[in-house]
């Protein structure tokens, strides 16, 4: 049985559906584009600078850590670029360069690579980077302070800060339509509600994120906010306001649904999403931080492994 024609042998299956990490990353970035472009048009060149620097440095850090740890160069899979883009979207347009560079370092190296790289991170790398920066340099994330020199034709007051300090009387200027169309101050890529929703629906339809997480996250925020609102309408904002301000929408579609740090079974996904939603509103309404999305999702990342143990019984499992 000797034959010199060399054939490829490998294990079944011999087909693949053609999905890949690269496709996933680039399409997630594509879905984020409406919101990012809107942010760049609103805030101008500084915003473009922050986003570009963030993406570049996320890639550079990934490249360096690949070199240092002597692993295959993995920047081609687009995951680092995605981390950079999402990180840039959360930042205010006036962020100084060193803040962006430090943040992407924390996100890519401490958030992702020290756990073994893609798939190993227990927390969302973007949020790790952002949370550490937010705790370390609080002033750079006070949107009222950092965006004070902008006059864009709408109330340049951070909506969540307004409701926190002034109650619902402070937010009468914000109509739902304005919020949807991005007439509010905030992070570069997180104010354009409509754009984020379109991007999110695209990701859900393409199957790149799990709809259960996004929907339950939004439902968690809506229901909790509704309960607060009903108990004291003068103090606590309406659910619609909570859904369209701060990092809610970017959190629902781009941050909470990050693959590695979220569950994959149906019931755990609902618990995870709803839990993050409830925590968000609790932090916003009762906690000391203005926005709670970042810490709420990080907190739920923590329970993800144990939560994901709630799973259907496997075929033929006797116990």
């Amino acid at each position: 049985m000797l034959n010199h024609k060399k054939l490829i042998v490998s294990h079944a299956p011999f087909w693949h559906d053609g999905s890949s990490i690269t496709v996933r990353s680039y399409h997630t970035m594509l879905a984020a584009m409406p919101a990012v472009l809107f942010g760049i048009f609103t805030y101008g060149m500084p915003a473009l600078g922050v986003v570009s620097l963030s993406i570049s440095f996320a890639i550079i850090w990934e490249f360096l850590i690949n070199k240092i740890t002597k692993r295959t160069i993995s920047i081609g899979d687009g995951n680092a670029a995605l981390i950079g883009l999402l990180f840039g979207m959360l930042l205010p347009a006036t962020s100084p360069w060193w803040l962006v560079i430090t943040g992407t370092f924390v996100a890519v190296v401490i958030g992702k690579h020290i756990y073994g790289g893609i798939g190993g991170n227990p927390f969302n790398p973007v949020l790790i980077g952002f949370a550490i920066l937010m705790v370390a340099w609080k002033d750079y994330f006070d949107f009222n302070e950092v965006l004070v020199n902008y006059d864009l034709g709408f109330a340049m007051v951070y909506p969540l800060a307004a409701v926190k300090h002034l109650g619902t009387s402070g937010i009468e200027a914000f109509s739902t339509t304005d919020l949807l169309l991005g007439q509010q101050s905030g992070g570069i890529g997180s104010t354009f509600g409509l754009g984020l929703i379109i991007g999110g629906i695209y990701l859900i339809l393409r199957g790149f994120i799990r709809w259960e997480i996004s929907v339950s996250f939004l439902a968690g925020i809506g229901l909790t906010a509704l309960m607060f609102n009903m108990s004291d309408p003068s103090h606590y904002a309406s659910p619609v306001f909570h859904l369209l301000t701060g990092y809610t929408l970017i959190g629902a579609f781009f941050l909470a649904a990050e693959d590695s740090s979220s569950p994959v079974n149906f019931i755990p996904m609902l618990i995870y999403g709803a839990g993050a939603g409830v925590m968000t509103v609790l932090i916003r309404n009762l906690g000391s931080y203005v926005d709670g999305v970042v810490f709420a999702i990080l907190l739920m990342n923590l329970i993800n492994p144990i939560c994901d143990k709630i799973r259907p019984k496997a075929l033929g499992k006797v116990v």
Partner: protein, 429 residues
């Protein structure tokens, strides 16, 4: 190759090939020079083998390995034995490969025709183990310890995509199946015989006289474990097989072969299978067991280049071979040729926890966690806590894996390694 749909929210739809009446007759291909038969026995030079190089054999002649062994093959041609050699197959399985040079004049061995008058279980066991469609060993449990078989399920559906062998048998060989069912009932004493078929072949399956049940036309519904669950309403416990539940699966082709053997007084030699070409078209072919694949590829002008892939079986569950001299075996349902440009490769990326595999797994296994244990070689933990043995081996996890991990390969490897550990422990105890 079926790709992920644009709307990735829905599961990929993998339909089994549906055969209809307009399908042309299978093309018959004759072996050109030689055939190779695999005898299910480890080859040992010290054994007193009952046949030798240079022996003349007739078509239908039984070649037993030795006095102390039940293993045998049926020669499918008339000719001279030109070599006897060991052959190593997948997962450490070893066969004795017997190569026979085909001579021009065909002579039929008469031994079997004397036995057909009164079919009994020994005749079937001693003469028909090598029939097209493969006689399952589990049909006749040898030890008293194993539970008796109470139900026989005839598979009128095909186990993988692109394959139409069993459907074709149901469609054209209804009478042979009917006779086969009668003989099976007679020799085993089992009355509960069920034939499963796809929706559109129900009428044809009804001719067999067995009870007809319908199976979903969507992969992987025709895998035995899923037929057990969805059609018979019995769940096979993890780590057990269908025979442990008293159910034996047999392909429609094998039943038809049994029927034909007893009506014609001659052991059937022609195996039906599909040739899946590089462009994805599928042709039904009939060839003698033992025909080298190269003969079939030559007949259909399929050129095999360096670094192409040659697969025995379908795209999801088949196995690759390294040489086109590999023969058609009794259970070869398809030969698939993949061009080197179309081969999807696996990668060494880790699991990114996207959950595609978990959602598509028909056995609800937490593959995202399981594969992490398997990567680390912790097979026992994987089996104890993460349902390794619930796997029914459909291959869908690897098919959808975003990281292109060889998930199915890991699972098979883990089962094999655990099997080896168990055997070693049993022998050393």
């Amino acid at each position: 190759m079926i790709k992920r749909s644009f709307i990735g929210l829905t599961k990929p739809l993998l339909k089994y090939e549906a055969l209809d009446v307009s399908t042309p007759e299978p093309s018959v291909i004759q072996p050109s020079k030689k055939v190779t038969l695999f005898l299910d026995k480890v080859f040992d030079f010290k054994d007193k083998i009952l046949f030798n190089i240079g022996d003349k054999v007739k078509t239908g002649q039984k070649l037993s390995y030795s006095e102390n062994s039940d293993a045998y093959v049926i020669s499918t041609v008339t000719g001279t034995i030109s070599s006897i050699a060991p052959f190593n197959a997948d997962y450490g399985k070893t066969y004795t490969a017997i190569t026979i040079d085909v001579s021009e004049n065909e002579e039929i061995d008469e031994q079997f025709s004397t036995l057909v008058k009164e079919p009994d279980i020994d005749t079937v066991k001693d003469s028909l183990a090598f029939i097209p469609g493969n006689l399952p060993a589990g049909l006749f449990p040898s030890t008293d310890a194993s539970p008796p078989i109470e139900t026989i399920v005839i598979s009128g559906v095909d186990c993988d995509l692109f394959i139409t062998t069993n459907q074709n048998t149901v469609l054209v060989d209804g009478q042979a199946i009917k006779h086969g069912v009668k003989i099976l009932k007679q020799i085993t004493g089992i009355d509960n015989i069920i034939i499963v078929s796809s929706d559109h072949l129900m009428q044809d399956a009804g001719i067999s006289g067995a009870e007809v049940r319908v199976v979903d036309p969507e992969y992987p519904a025709s895998l035995p474990h899923l037929i057990m669950r969805d059609v018979l309403g019995q769940v096979v416990p993890a780590g057990k097989n269908c025979e442990d539940m008293g159910v034996s699966f047999i392909s429609a082709e094998a039943v038809a072969s049994i029927g034909k053997a007893f009506t014609e007084g001659q052991i059937p030699l022609y195996k039906h299978f599909n040739l899946i070409k590089k462009d994805g078209s599928s042709t039904l072919i009939s060839a003698r067991i033992g025909t080298p694949i190269s003969d079939i590829l030559n007949a259909f002008d399929v050129t095999l280049n360096e670094k192409d892939r040659l697969i025995i079986g379908g795209p999801m569950t088949g196995s690759t071979v390294y040489s086109e001299d590999f023969p058609i075996q009794p259970d070869t349902d398809a030969i698939m040729v993949q061009d080197r440009g179309n081969i999807p490769f696996v990668s060494d990326y880790p699991c990114i926890n996207c959950g595609e595999c978990v959602r598509i797994c028909p056995a609800s296994i937490p593959i995202n966690v399981l594969v992490r244990f398997l990567e680390a070689g912790q097979y026992e933990e994987a089996a104890d806590q993460y349902d390794l043995y619930s796997c029914i081996e459909c291959g869908l996890c690897s098919f959808v894996c975003v990281s292109k991990m060889p998930v199915f390969h890991y699972i098979k490897l883990a089962k094999y390694e655990l099997g080896r550990i168990t055997t070693a422990e049993a022998t050393n105890a």
